[in-house]
Amino acid sequence: MSLTLPAQTLACHECDLLQTEPALAPGQTARCVRCGAFLARNPPDSLDRTLALTLTAAILYVIANAWPLVGLEMQGRRVEVTLIGAVQALWSEGMTPVAALVFGTALLFPLLELAMILVVLIPLRLGRVSPRMAPFFRLVRSVQPWGMVEVFLLGMLVSLVKLSHMATVLLGPAFWAMAALILTVTLAGRAFDTRLLWQAPPAGAGA
């Protein structure tokens, strides 16, 4: 199911220039002729690939949150933390604003983003397009910049290096799940053609 979407007029969202959107062959990207901003992409098999990758990401998200991320062993004692455990430690210490920030950016917003993408894409794949899903997609767009799992992973690496001289560092299953989660979410984002949401589904797609 790789379709070439029709050409139409659009305004660049970064410089407001009116231009004709070229008919994109699968895999091609359109950029603004004046400022070079990304306009649209026509990824092959967009809907199926995005759905498959997002479902994989949802499973990885569960693993990344249910199992311990990292652990530390020191003089025979062992400490292991999960993501929510780390947030709780910060909260109970009185750092509530920071704990809330970490909870939102590393846990809640990535979850919301995955859930909303599925809420929008599953009906679309089944051929049921309804205008009621527009608010869900608007929510995806407003939540997207605040999900920062990849930054969290780098933060984890930095803190482990900081601790490696004083204790033995252990990597939990959730650590690897989180690394895979970042990869699948990135690939899902690249496979997703947002224009599919606003156009009538092509005949024969799903249904």
């Binding site: 007029t9 659009l10 305004a11 969202h13 970064e14 410089c15 407001d16 220039l17 009116l18 231009q19 004046r34 400022c35 070079g36 901003a37 990292v70 652990g71 530390l72 020191m74 003089q75 004692r77 400490v79 933390v81 455990g85 780390a86 947030v87 430690a89 910060l90 210490e93 750092m95 604003p97 920071v98 704990a99 920030l101 970490v102 950016t105 590393a106 205008p131 527009a134 608010p135 997609f137 608007r138 767009r141 910049p145 605040w146 920062m148 930054v151 969290f152 780098l154 933060g155 984890m156 690496l157 930095v158 803190s159 290096v161 900081k162 601790l163 001289h165 004083m166 947002t194 606003w198």
Partner: protein, 213 residues
């Protein structure tokens, strides 16, 4: 001479969610005919909102750097670390690539973001027509790198949770963590409230549509 037509000059505005073009009507609070998102010609009160957020984050950047970020208590005594002393510690403990990453993410990025947004907003206010392409690229860069400043917040979170060996060693977060978290959030909101289309608007010549709503 006008090289090209913008949506605003054509009496149109584009939906910021789905890109649908709609006819511009004065004074009315319009919604997108396709996805029902509120429509604006430009982001509302873009310049004043961006300035307010830039000033607030610049003020908070001071305590974020001067106050202690974390307190380490161990058998060897208590040690208070600021943002910079954390970087210096990483440098001396042999992991200079990591020290460079942390220095870049928590000192260089927030500072450059504040300065870059201040320059962008000031140049838009002067209706400057120079370096349009460079400013458009700078804005894209600011939007892209902003999130990486959260790095130090996550490092603190994990250190506090992991180093919790009663009697041997504990780590507590310091007040700078709150100030620093606020700087990251406020600069992200500042980048979002800035409307990059304002950079290109002066090209449309002296117009009577200069209201940014």
């Amino acid at each position: 001479m006008r090289p090209a037509l913008t949506a605003r000059e054509a009496g149109l505005m584009s939906c910021h969610v789905c890109g649908q073009l709609a006819r511009h009507a004065c004074g009315a609070h319009l919604r997108c005919p396709r996805c029902h998102a509120p429509l604006h010609l430009r982001k509302p009160a873009s310049i004043s909102t961006t300035w307010a957020l830039i000033v607030a984050s610049a003020i908070l950047f001071v305590p974020a750097n001067l106050l202690p970020m974390m307190t380490t208590s161990s058998l060897l005594g208590t040690q208070r670390d600021t943002l910079m002393s954390g970087v210096v510690f990483l440098w001396h403990s042999g992991s200079w690539p990591l020290a460079a990453v942390v220095f870049f993410a928590s000192v260089v990025v927030p500072l450059l973001k504040i300065l870059a947004l201040a320059w962008l907003t000031a140049s838009v206010q002067r209706r400057s027509r120079r370096r349009l392409m460079q400013r458009a690229r700078l804005y894209r860069l600011v939007e892209f790198v902003g999130r990486w400043s959260m790095l130090d917040i996550y490092v603190i979170t994990l250190l506090v949770a992991l180093v919790n060996f009663r009697g041997i060693a504990t780590i507590e977060a310091g007040p700078a963590a709150i100030a620093f978290g606020a700087v990251v959030v406020l600069t992200m909101f500042a980048a979002m409230s800035f409307d990059p289309r304002l950079i290109w608007d002066p090209l449309a010549g002296p117009d009577d549509l200069a209201r940014h709503d």
